[in-house]
């Protein structure tokens, strides 16, 4: 990938927050897979604003997305799973993220720990709880379900054994066209098996080596993207019949610019301090084409990326049938 100096457009100050803080993923007019990892919590400027200052990002959709997650979990409990050896890692993830949020949002949140007794206050939910690290019954639905009610990110925990990463726990309600229940227990290379190009280009093997070398406490991030029809968070394999068919009709839909969203995942890779497990967070951001088009540089870059993207990648991302319509619309503005 190439580095371009990004300058924020002076008119951008007038744009709504959802656009100014959107993690626009394209640096140029073409896109290829790469090992695009960088240190976490570095502010990343875009042509419309900036993103990325906080590990856990909270935005205007906070309560809505958490309500949506609760519904998904009620319908389908297979979206959460913890293999027994991952209990320490789950508690480690919970304490690490709550204390990070308390530091980033001191006006609304606080976290105190005395030994294993913790007190958490979340003013956005009028919530105050006390729990004991290591005691699963000290939180109503256990520590992972609880963490899933506090952050918008999907949560995945990987154990490190025999120089390999194993996906052994997680809570994933907003998957972009994959199945968490299917992937539980798989290793890093197996998880990435369906992705074109990455094996040939040694991206997954390099990425795994990099992740295995991370030391406890280190935090990195990357972005990934696809497209989604409607503001739909749950596009998992399990609900494919509900959202898959839209892909064939959207190109001819006059409402395409409002309905079609760029879906960007800000993914964090965190080696947890006490368990040594790898925490993989996926925070999904959706922005309709109509909003993308309000930033001239985004409109052009995305228009060109969609037009140029090789077929195998467009096919894998599930956008092959409408990417030309989307590109044409963006470039005709």
């Amino acid at each position: 990938m190439s580095s371009t100096i990004i300058e924020t457009d002076p008119d951008a100050a007038l744009l709504p927050e959802r656009i100014r803080r959107f993690p626009f993923p394209f640096a140029s007019d073409t896109y290829r897979y790469s090992a695009n990892v960088e240190p976490a919590t570095k502010t990343a400027p875009t042509e419309a604003g900036a993103w990325g200052a906080h590990l856990v990002d909270i935005d205007e959709h906070y309560l809505d997305e958490l309500a949506e997650r609760a519904k998904v979990l009620t319908r389908d409990p297979s979206r959460v799973n913890v293999l027994p050896h991952m209990r320490t890692a789950v508690w480690d993830a919970l304490t690490t993220l709550l204390s990070s949020m308390a530091e980033d949002y001191p006006d609304t949140m606080s976290f105190h720990r005395e030994g294993n007794i913790c007190r958490w206050r979340n003013g956005l939910q009028n919530l105050e709880v006390e729990f004991t690290v290591g005691d699963d019954s000290s939180l109503p639905e256990g520590p992972l379900r609880f963490l899933g009610t506090q952050i918008q990110d999907d949560i995945i925990l990987l154990d490190i054994r025999e120089d390999t990463l194993w996906l052994d726990a997680g809570l994933v309600t907003f998957a972009a066209d994959w199945s968490f229940a299917f992937d539980v227990g798989m290793n890093f290379l197996e998880i990435h098996h369906p992705v074109p190009r990455v094996k040939e280009e040694r991206i997954t093997s390099r990425a795994e080596q990099f992740l295995l070398r991370l030391q406890p406490g280190e935090q990195f991030r990357r972005t990934n993207w696809t497209m989604t029809i409607g503001r739909r968070m749950d596009t998992s394999t399990e609900t494919y019949p509900e959202w898959g068919p839209d892909r064939t009709t959207i190109a001819d839909d006059p409402a395409m610019p409002e309905k079609l969203h760029l879906r960007v995942e800000v993914q964090h890779l965190i080696r947890l301090p006490h368990s040594g497990a790898l925490l993989f967070l996926v925070r999904t951001h959706l922005l309709p084409l109509t909003d993308i088009a309000r930033v001239p540089a985004w409109r052009e870059k995305m228009g060109h990326v969609l037009a140029e993207l090789p077929d195998d990648m467009a096919e894998y991302k599930g956008i092959i049938r409408y990417r030309k319509a989307a590109s044409d619309w963006l470039l005709a503005r």
Binding site: T95, D159, Q209, Q215, F220, P273
Partner: protein
Amino acid sequence: MTAIALQPRVHPAVEGGLQLEVTNVSRETESIVSITMAAPEGGRLPSYVPGSHLVVQWGNGVNAYSLTGSGNAPSEYSISVLRVGEGAGGSLAMHRLCVGDRVYVARPRSAFAPASTATHHLLVAAGIGITPVLSHARAAVERDSTATMIYVHRPDAGAHVAEARELLGPGLIALVECTDRGSFQNVLAEALITQPVGTHLYVCGPVVFMDAVLEEARGHGWSSARLHSEAFGAAELDAGEPFTVHLARSGVRLEVPAGVSLLETLETAGQSIPNMCRKGICGECVLPVLRGAPQHRDLYLSEQEKAANNTMMSCVSRSNDPELELDL
């Protein structure tokens, strides 16, 4: 005496780490002292993985010592140091530390972690090798898993014996102390054939001791996936040797000191080099090399590209030659 107090120069290996104050020094045996450190302003220190080590600066040098706590939300770090008479001087300097002295340490690093899937942990230590193994035993007790410890030490010269005995209970279910080689051979052989299925073995002590234990275990059919031995800092990049770069286009010569990357050196000199991960994986910071053999330490270039020696990743790679010439 406060000879070590506030080093004027922070060693690169502990840069970005913590400055701690010695809060307790206690003699374990004739040649081993335990040193406890805490944040001068109090409060919690970063948690660590059981079996982690702490890189501590003494004078101008650094040494790694195993942490002896469980690593769960600690407010202090404890290490134990064996005085090595003819050593590089680190152990002597550490033995001179007093309460109130300030030391620089790096964040704890993990290279000897417990396996989360183990059904039981067999911990084997000799001498000062007790330190990371004690950390494992404490973690087993806290995490409701189980461990057996075999500890070889000289008669009346076992560090941390009392603490290990105190841990005995539902977590540490057995502690066998051996003070002579013959009894250890028997205890180990017996232990290797009586552990529950799914037990992992952890050994720490002198290299010959570790090799002997591992070989014996393999001989009894233990797979290497279930065998763990302490290898300090295997996963970390060392500081490297200093070298010079000659920038062909501008004619500038720059010195790259040990512990400072080529990328940082160029940035300090006002060059702007694209970069992203600063860890040798993303491929952004590639530089064209005109002369000299880079010491490739990245994950990005292929073996062929590395062998060609005409590009290098400036964030992690260094030089095998005293000078490199770059097309910059």
